[in-house]
């Protein structure tokens, strides 16, 4: 009966729920979990593990989360720990940072990171810089999370990618998960970290299921920051990317594999600190570099990757200049055709790879 009610309540991930809850012991080695559920479970487990952890943001409690990431948490933990805030980003971000200074471990959710721009002073000046300014006396163990980057048809003010903005500032750790495993491990690590962490999710990835291994479903599974993951091994070109574009790169790699080009796809996971070693090792193997991201080109993540590779030993291994595939340098338009052409598509990635390889 319990499983039936589970199925009725949560249709989409019913299978995952049932598998997880009923047949855990005899489950197969991997389970399909969406990014949304991975985030939900990670928060649930961390809230249970440490009483100082609490979640605040708009619509996180009674609405179950604007994107349903915090579904069920309010019912379980109540008003004291899952706090609905008014629509006052600067105010509630400051409150979250103050609570972190006073010893709690808040998770501050932004409905999207576009709204974090209103509160960016609290994130940077009050959270990121405080440990340094106080010479270690005052730490700020806080996580800022929310969807980042373009969504579908939401217009210019709701589609900006903040990876480069937050990645610029020392004192912050900035992570950008792709898969459910990334989401779970990185969020747990972020909550357990004593420093301000900016956790950039992606709305379009929330509903995508991924296989998760037994190990990644364990309660203490964390992914260290500053470690990129090579999602696909290759020999001809290195694709460095993060968040949703890892999927695009894998698709492009699959297409190119038929033509005999083997792409190595590096999922950055951490924007700050950036894992230069993995990138350099990969470039030294493949001799070609293409970075793919959704943000604007100028001063972006790709620009930083290229500069770092150029400053390091891997430069001598490059057979062609590094290429950046980025979003178009325009505020995001609304019309579908325009929007689709404002972001990197698989054909753009393939085109860039072929240009870089000169084929």
């Amino acid at each position: 009966m319990a499983s039936l009610s589970c199925v009725l309540r949560s249709g989409r991930n019913a299978a995952a729920v049932v598998l997880r809850r009923e047949f855990h012991r005899s489950a197969p080695a991997s389970v399909q979990v969406t990014v949304r559920d991975a985030l939900n479970q990670a928060m649930d487990e961390e809230l249970e593990r440490d009483e100082r952890v609490f979640l605040l943001g708009e619509e996180v409690a009674q609405y179950d989360g604007a994107y349903k990431i915090s579904r069920g948490l309010w019912k379980k933990y109540g008003d004291a720990r899952i706090i609905d805030t008014p629509i006052t980003e600067m105010g509630f971000t400051g409150i979250a940072v103050g609570a972190a200074m006073a010893g709690l471990r808040p998770i501050c959710e932004f409905m999207t990171f576009n709204f974090s721009m209103q509160a960016i002073d609290q994130v940077i000046n009050s959270a990121a810089k405080t440990n340094y300014m106080s010479a270690g006396r005052q730490s700020v163990p806080i996580v800022f999370r929310g969807p980042n980057g373009a969504s579908a048809g939401v217009g210019a003010q709701h589609s900006q990618c903040f990876a480069a903005w937050y990645g610029h500032c020392p004192g912050l750790k900035v992570v950008s998960p792709w898969s459910a495993e990334d989401a779970r491990g990185l969020l747990k690590a972020a909550i357990r970290d004593d420093n301000p962490v900016v956790f950039l999710e992606n709305e379009l990835m929330y509903g995508v299921p991924f296989e998760m291994s037994e190990e990644s479903l364990s309660k203490d599974f964390t992914i260290p920051f500053g470690k990129a993951k090579v999602e696909r091994q290759g020999t001809h070109v290195t694709l460095v990317t993060h968040s949703r574009y890892v999927s695009f790169c894998l698709d492009a790699a699959a297409v190119l594999a038929k033509e005999g080009v083997e792409c190595e796809v590096v999922n950055l996971r951490s924007i700050r600190p950036l894992d230069v070693e993995t990138i350099e090792a990969s470039v030294m193997k493949t001799n070609h570099l293409v970075t793919v991201e959704g943000g604007w080109p100028q001063f972006g993540v790709g620009a930083e990757v290229c500069a770092r590779v150029m400053e390091g030993p891997a430069f001598n291994f490059l057979d062609a200049p590094a290429t950046r595939v980025t979003g178009v340098d325009v505020p995001m338009p609304y019309a579908k055709i325009l929007e689709d052409n404002s972001l990197p598509q698989i054909k753009d990635i393939i085109f860039s790879i072929k240009k870089t390889l000169n084929i």
Binding site: T85, P86, G98, M101, A102, L104, N125, Q138, N195
Partner: protein
């Protein structure tokens, strides 16, 4: 405006020639011109310099000019009566309008016989405007006409208040130098030659003030009738002066605790005098607070014990001297960057600290040195932080605005950002259920910040134990409260949050109000707002002399009538709660302490370069940090 009004006609060669003689028409050249003696051709000219070159195309009479060329005509909205005369009146105060239309050559003398403008040269005829006699000395290009010329500019050295002879802060002007202080022995009435009986001196003679005082106390004991019993006690050795702690330990900061005196002998001396002479406790009337959404405010009476009074005096005087020392060090360029001084506002910091527990929390803005001290950081660590040495409270990494201590969260540079932080700290107090409150301070300048109202909303909604305190020192940098705020009743700005307006220059008022507010919060009634009406003697920061937006008389008036330290001392003296010598002695001790702290702050080494990248993160593994070039890889440890 003028330049847009049309181009020069070809027939105005004469004026062009004159213009060419004057040089180019830019403001800088006008100023340069003004510094030179006016050339003869420019005599009798009444054009207002700031109006620029005259329009020379149209033949306009004065009346036409009034409509066409006035600011109204140019598209400014304003009163219809904004004639050129009015336009000018606002500019060259006290001078008759010097706006003149220079008609073109087509206007004949016959057509305008009464025109004051000489048709030949295009300039005003001498003697036409009696009030502004065309006198070489009165040419508008000469200093006394234009408000923009050096002598009339408020910004030139001879007019600026920045010169040493004009600043009140130089040694010869500060009241705190020995020759000006009334506290020197030669000014005290207590010299031996004024007593009737000189007791036998001890073998060494009175070496210190306290030894001397002991001598005097023996005098008192012998002559007062009730003390005959005491006269039979053996002669005591002069004890050390009562070491009232300046760096109050946490226990002392709790309300109502007497000051700890380490030497029992000292206590005996003091209390024997107290017993004989001093009132141990007195009750003072304090100003009634204005209230908002409250049935009643704090009580109108405050009790003060002798120990408390001495402790408050010592703390406030330490803050005062520390700020003055910081001022000195800044002027010697030993402190750099920002330095926002707190002198004048000491009663706020001391009153608040007296009313809360050491386990309560305080967060404030950038004028934070006073609070850093009352929250327990020693003076030498504060001064060393200001001078950027490794002995500073933030190891030289933070500076004036970023000093932290247990339960003290700075020191915040962004105006108003500390208020949501304070509400967050109050949220943590409520979450953890520890019955603590958070005192969140901000200024009158910050009181208009939007994020403060966001914080009010959430604090009231969730009933956070937060005391919002607006330190209204009447000026937000250089802008007075009347010029910045539509409502200067800052205690009412919380709207649904109850508020109090408190006299911030009286340490007892501040203490009683803060106690009232803390009780309110601890009772679970939610946040409360307090406005402390106070005053700062220095400017906004060290780069602001503080007299361009307020008069020296105002500062002097506040200093003489409402100085918090003087008020406390006068209260205690008039109620015989302490002797003048005790205050003088405390002053000299504090002076010595500050000197030592300043010596430490100037002699301590700067932080090592290896520590440049430390503390980026907390509790983290050492990481590599990029330096200025790709080859410089620095190390960061937490």
């Amino acid at each position: 405006m003028w330049q847009q009004q049309g181009s020069r006609a070809a027939s105005t060669d004469r004026l062009q020639a004159a213009a060419a003689k004057r040089g180019s028409q830019t403001t800088a050249s006008y100023v340069a011109l003004a510094r030179q003696p006016a050339p003869a051709a420019l005599l009798n000219t009444k054009r207002h310099r700031a109006l620029g070159p005259p329009p020379l195309d149209t033949a306009v009479s004065r009346s036409e000019a009034a409509t066409k060329l006035s600011p109204t005509a140019a598209g400014f909205t304003g009163s219809q009566e904004s004639t050129p005369q009015d336009h000018n009146r606002s500019r060259a105060a006290g001078c008759q309008p010097t706006y003149h239309v220079i008609p073109s050559a087509q206007v004949s003398e016959a057509a305008c016989p009464t025109s004051p403008v000489d048709q030949q040269s295009g300039f005003v005829k001498p003697g036409c405007l009696p009030q502004c006699q065309p006198n070489p000395q009165q040419s508008p290009y000469l200093p006394q006409h234009s408000p923009y010329l050096p002598q009339q500019s408020p910004y030139l050295p001879q007019q600026t208040p920045y010169l040493p002879q004009q600043t009140p802060y130089l040694p010869q002007q500060t009241p705190y130098l020995p020759q000006q202080t009334p506290y020197l022995p030669q000014q005290t009435p207590y010299l031996p030659q004024e007593t009737f009986y000189i007791p036998q001196q001890s073998s060494n003679g009175a070496q210190t003030v306290s030894e001397f005082l002991i001598g005097q106390s023996e005098l008192v004991n012998l002559t007062s009738p009730a003390a005959s019993a005491l006269a039979t006690t053996t002669k005591r050795q002069p004890p050390k002066p009562p070491p009232v702690n300046t760096k109050a330990s946490e226990a002392e900061l709790v309300t109502e605790q007497p000051t700890l005196l380490s030497d029992p002998g000292a206590r005996a001396v003091v209390s024997s005098r107290a017993f004989a002479d001093f009132t141990p406790k007195a009750s003072f009337e304090i100003k009634k607070c204005d209230v908002h959404r409250l049935e009643e405010g704090p009580p109108g009476q405050a009790e003060l014990t002798r120990e408390q009074g001495l402790h408050y005096y010592r703390t406030m005087q330490t803050i005062r001297r520390m700020e003055l020392k910081a001022d000195q060090l800044y002027k010697q360029k030993i402190i750099r960057g920002f330095c926002h001084l707190y002198d004048g506002q000491e009663a706020c910091a001391m009153g608040i600290e007296a009313a809360i527990n050491p386990t309560d929390h305080v967060i404030t803005a950038y004028r934070a040195h006073g609070y850093t001290y009352t929250r327990g950081v020693p003076v030498k660590q504060i001064l060393a932080e200001l001078t950027g040495r490794k002995g500073g409270i933030a190891k030289g990494k933070g500076g004036s605005m970023h000093m932290y201590a247990p339960n003290f969260y700075g020191g915040n540079g962004i105006v108003g950002a500390q208020v949501p932080l304070g509400a967050g700290i109050a949220l943590a107090c409520k979450y953890l259920g520890n019955n603590q409150v958070c005192v969140t301070l901000y200024g009158d300048g910050a009181a208009n910040q939007g994020q403060i109202f966001e914080a009010y909303n959430m604090a009231a909604l969730w009933k956070l134990p937060c005391i919002f305190i607006c330190e209204n020192n009447k000026y937000g940098m250089g802008t007075s409260v009347e010029r910045s705020s539509a409502s200067t009743d800052y205690y009412r700005r919380g709207d649904y949050i109850p508020g109090l307006r408190v006299d911030g220059m009286d340490v007892l008022s501040v203490r009683e109000a803060t106690k009232f507010a803390a009780d309110h919060c601890r009772a679970g009634k939610g946040p409360i707002l307090m406005e402390l009406e106070t005053y700062r003697y220095h400017g906004h920061s060290m780069s602001d002399p503080g007299v361009s937006y307020r008069t020296r008389e105002e500062i002097q008036e506040v200093r003489s009538k409402s100085d918090p330290i003087s008020m406390l001392k006068d209260r205690m003296l008039s109620n015989k709660m302490a002797a003048m010598e005790e205050f003088k002695e405390m002053d000299s001790e504090i002076r010595k302490e500050i000197e030592e702290a300043a010596l430490f702050a100037t002699s301590d080494p700067e932080p090592p370069l290896d520590a440049l990248c430390d503390h980026i993160f907390h509790n983290d593994l050492p990481l590599e940090v990029r330096g200025t070039t790709p080859w410089s890889k620095l190390k960061s440890s937490s």
